[in-house]
């Protein structure tokens, strides 16, 4: 599904160069449910941005499916994001002035699908997250858990092969968190690869495998892959 080999990323801070990711190596196979854990400053957000083609890296290789993701034009990156990746954010990032239905339909707008068609599809996805009756409500009229469900429906509508979730439960209480993780597990069971960035061990425990980052490096990858025999073949 996706593979990183020796990925390095630097940030220029004043005259200093900050080495954020150091030779990051790992692979995620199709249909896996993986958590990326690390303390703040460990580089996990940077990693997520690279995985989501929101940011470029300085050296190494990143393969998404059969495509090498490297120095893409902005338009190309936008098109890959639109087709391959669904994003779920901690702060939901719904457009506040659009109804649930319109929010869910937005990725299809950028695929050039007609309004009527995309609203039809969006209604189906809202149904899938149990919010069919809330289609005409604005995000401000709903609870955090409901907002996150809308966001997940939006992430799914483009039929992505990969869901990238950045602290999806970070803004939710534990009961709601559990429901959102249930939803993500359910999505995983339909065959979609799900990657969750989190610092919450309980969230990580719901996934199949955890990749730990410390100071920009992947720690104990062998132990991590050992938990999943399918990963034994990983050699970059």
């Amino acid at each position: 599904m996706l593979r990183l080999s020796k990925v390095n990323k630097y940030y220029q801070v004043g005259t200093h160069s900050l080495h954020v990711l150091r030779d990051v190596d790992f692979e995620v196979t199709d249909g896996e449910f993986v958590a990326i854990m690390g303390a703040s400053g460990s580089g996990k957000s940077t990693l997520l941005n690279i995985l989501g083609i929101l940011d470029d890296y300085d050296s190494g290789e990143y393969w998404l499916g059969e495509t090498k993701i490297s120095h893409l034009s902005e338009s190309k990156a936008a098109s890959y994001r639109n087709r391959f990746i669904g994003f779920v954010f901690q702060s939901f990032n719904l457009l506040p002035f659009k109804t649930a239905l319109e929010n869910v339909a937005l990725p299809l707008y950028y695929q050039g699908i007609t309004r009527r068609k995309r609203n039809q599809i969006a209604a189906q996805y809202l149904e899938r997250v149990g919010l069919r009756d809330w289609a005409d409500h604005l995000p401000s009229e709903r609870s955090g858990g409901q907002k996150q469900r809308v966001a997940i429906a939006r992430a799914l509508i483009g039929k992505p092969r990969l869901i990238l979730a950045d602290e999806p439960t970070g803004a939710l209480d534990s009961e709601t968190s559990k429901q959102i993780m249930d939803l993500l597990s359910e999505i995983h069971r339909t065959g979609i690869t799900v990657l969750v960035v989190t610092h919450d061990p309980e969230v990580a425990a719901r996934t199949q495998r955890t990749i730990r980052l410390r100071d920009g490096k992947v720690v104990n990858p062998l132990e991590a892959s050992a938990s999943n025999p399918g990963m034994a073949a990983v050699v970059p």
Binding site: L54, F89, P107, Y109, Y110, Q111
Partner: protein
Amino acid sequence: MFSADRWLEVFDTIRRNKLRTALTAISVAWGIFVLVFLLGLGRGLDNGLRANFAKDATNGVWINANKTSVAHGGYDVGRRISFANSDYERAKKVEGVEFISGQHYISGNRRGSSMITKYGAKANTFELDAVYAESIRLQAHEMTKGRFLSASDIAQTRKSAVIGQTVAEFLFEKKDPIGEWITIGSTAFQVVGVFTDPGGAEEERRIYIPVSTAQLAFNGGDKLGQLQMTVGQAGPEEAQAIIDVIVGQLAERHNFDPADTQAVRVHNNIEQFDRFKKLFWMISTFVIVIGLGTLAAGVVGVSNIMMIAVKERTKEIGVRKALGATPWSIVFMITQEAVFLTGVAGLLGLSAGVGVLGLLGKLDNEFIVDPNIDLSMGVGAAAFLVFAGALAGYFPARAAAKVNPIHALRDQ
């Protein structure tokens, strides 16, 4: 590129930001209003200038016979010069002269040319101008009935008279004057035409008769007091050259120094009109610069407000980009909004400007006549607005396209 969907997005944004939209629209509308108003005002001033000059031909030259002030050719100072019909014939052949006439002053000078004119029991004093047929070309007269004097009137010394509207009303009241006989002094003349003049009643208190008939009837010999001509499209310098040739001929013929500024007096409308034209051109240019400046301020205002809007919408734009919006789609979205805003506001300003100019035109003012802007200016202004809108939108749009989704989305 201009899909219905994007229009819906634009209207959506505008609806969400009514105050901001209104303020932006006002600044653009005001800019265009000021520009249109000033352009129209400039046009009105120009029209006013032309109307003021329209009493006489703007390319007219008048040469009056006067007294010498320099001794020349054995003659003393203070000799009175008088032109003759032959001077008219010679001047007529000078290259550059378009239309030419000469005037015979009946009692020797211009002020004495008024004579008592009678029709039936009615009598009054009117100015009497004894001229050639082309004299009409030097005036702004408009013939309302009949015709002006013709070349054959002059050649055959006919007793024809062309009278002003005021004269016609006084002598004939509602009766048709054409073909009627009036008595000027003690000679009977037949009315062949009636004219009006934009200069008003004073200009219409005149009677024109053939120069030849006047010389014959009032013992004027072949004397002319004034030569009058137009010089076509000649500029001030060319006009002066023509004047120099004619004055040279006159000086040779009548033995005065061509450099004597008193022997003949030249009234040159070209030079005056040119001076006024330059002055008004400067005023118009000044006015346009101010108008464009105001408009530019409006456009910069739009750009600024759009820039703020982009800042406000950083997160939204970040989300859109994460969901697959290309930079171009963001640029189009913002630019289209700016073009739409500027366009609508500009058209409002344009209409308001045209409306106010219409009201201004209704005021009776001799300096501002018919202030307006023509169609090409309107179309030009509209095109300029779209361009200005695109420009105003482009820079904020470029900033929006550069929004880094990572930062936008991380921003809590």
